[in-house]
Amino acid sequence: MMSRSMRGRARRLTEFVIERLLFVCAAGSILVTAGIILVLAFETFEFLREVPITEFLFGTVWTPLFSDKHFGILPLAAGTLLIASIAMIVALPSGLLTAIYLSEYAPPGIRRIVRPTMEVLAGVPTVVYGYFALLFVTPILQSFLPGLSGFNALTPGIVMGIMILPLVSSLSEDALRSVPNGLREGAYALGATRMQAALRVVVPAALSGISAAAVLAVSRAIGETMIVAIAAGQQPRLTLDPRVPIEAMTAYIVQVALGDTPAGSLEYRTIFAVGMMLFISTFTLNLISNWLRERFREEYA
């Protein structure tokens, strides 16, 4: 009798300890977020003690590694935005068209081939895309765009757009597929063609899901590193010209990390300040994307 109740107590204790352990592992993920914010905030704060925040946010010259130092992030931010915009011009229309084709037109056989191929496309390491951009796409583009320099914003933008295409197409396709069939049938019953049903009924109904995909794609483009580090150059320049070398925020972090900047120096802290801007913008975009997706789910739950 005695031993049985003791065994029961030991078992309850084990159960309790295991549950606590599992909880600690799950809650640890919050520590990761806290760690990111703390590390970035600490170094950024130290950085801003030496550089006024107005110069950092609104300055138009970025030369922390030169003897004449300027710390205006705008050239880096402009480089990132320029490349991300080009990527979106490629990824959004083609991703959405792919999604419409796969969800509204394609026979299941084609879908079974295309989806895994898209997954392979999404799984290719980004350094490989960088190689492809610099040594394959840029020379081809140069043959009919004579003004294009070896490093530029156009090539990494296009290649990044194709890299992001699977993300846009698979999330948009999911959104289109979760639109109830009754809506399509209603449109057909009124005499709509497949195109009319797709463009005037299904796409508008899935719009918040599609926007969630688009916003997530922008966030991915802003944070993408290797393609821009390899193919866009290392010249922070405030320009909208996609043919000249520029530098993106992520590429600057790579550039400094490759050099031997002593820890604790102002140059070393710049990468955390730039990282902070990167984190804030991608985090905000991810929140917006999540919010849109939740709204979409509520509409068709």
Binding site: S29, T117, G130, L216, V254
Partner: protein, 295 residues
């Protein structure tokens, strides 16, 4: 609408209507081909540039100033070393977190909701930010230096959200009747989880894990950020060794202007893609084998 039979639209608008339909389908096919053709061009380009450079000498040599002597050995061993250690760190923690969220937590509880949102957000943080975290936390604060351990810890944090999300999906697919049957026989929660739920979900967990790790093996930016070296003429022999990995070696060769190094980069990419192919192939084969075995 009208009941008159002759209210059918004229033939011309009918053709126009269906022309639009054809056009949309045509553009859809073109857009779909864009991705596929690019993948084809990329593979063609890499194999054309790099296949001739692949040899036993390339696989077993250390980097060199002369492109024709240089090899991938240090990077290949470095990648395998780092990925193995990443797996050791990320897998137990990730599976434990997923078990808590899926099997234990009160789904509507505020803490579980918070953890869930947090993991979804972490999955969207750019990889280079993890590199900055690793640099500040592991390399500087914990004084690990740019070692294999620091690199693996950074990558472990990076893949943790992926591991958790994949494991949760696998756990969700386990039928509730299995758990109820186990409880009915008097098993406790943990006995049910350990002896019934985990084995049932194991094949798909395994697939998710290998996919998460194959994402980590292609990562370049976070490891460059923590200060992994680009020129390493030795293979790592402990978790405290400095190291390089395949994608960093490729990046290093791409960054050099000489064409001979571009060939090395292409050959390095082929090795990297081969490692990825082997990992994914293993994942699929293991899943099929285990699923059959369980039936």
């Amino acid at each position: 609408m009208t009941s008159r039979v002759d209210a059918i639209p004229p033939v011309r608008t009918e053709i126009v209507r269906h022309l639009g339909d054809r056009l949309l389908a045509g553009f859809g096919i073109l857009a779909t081909l864009l991705g596929l053709v690019t993948l084809g061009a990329l593979l063609f380009d890499v194999f054309r540039d790099g296949f001739g450079r692949l040899s036993w000498q390339f696989l077993t040599s250390f980097p060199s100033r002369r492109a024709s002597d240089a090899g991938i050995y240090a990077a290949l061993i470095g990648s395998l070393y780092v990925i193995a250690l990443t797996a050791v760190i990320a897998i137990p923690v990730g599976i434990a977190a997923a078990l808590y969220l899926e099997e234990y937590a009160n789904r509507r509880g505020r803490v579980a909701r918070l953890i869930e949102i947090n993991i979804a957000n972490l999955a969207g943080v750019p990889s280079i930010i993890y590199g900055l975290l690793g640099l500040g936390l592991f390399v500087r604060w914990m004084r690990m230096g740019p070692s294999v351990l620091a690199g693996a810890s950074t990558l472990a944090l990076l893949v943790l959200p992926v591991v958790i999300l994949a494991t949760r999906e696998a756990l969700r697919a386990v039928p509730g009747t299995l758990r109820e049957g186990s409880y009915a026989l008097g098993a406790t929660k943990w006995q049910t989880t350990w002896h019934q739920v985990l084995p049932a979900a194991f094949p798909s967990i395994l697939t998710g894990l290998i996919l998460a790790l194959s994402r980590a093996i292609g990562e370049t930016a976070p490891l460059i950020t923590i200060g992994a070296l680009t020129y390493v003429p030795f293979a790592p022999n402990s978790i405290w060794s400095p190291f390089t990995v395949l994608p960093i070696q490729v990046f290093n060769w791409v960054s050099r202007p000489q064409a001979a190094f571009a060939e090395n980069a292409a050959a390095g990419i082929i090795v990297l893609l081969a490692v990825l192919l082997i990992m994914n192939g293993t994942a699929i084969a293991l899943r099929d084998r285990l699923q059959k075995w369980r039936l």
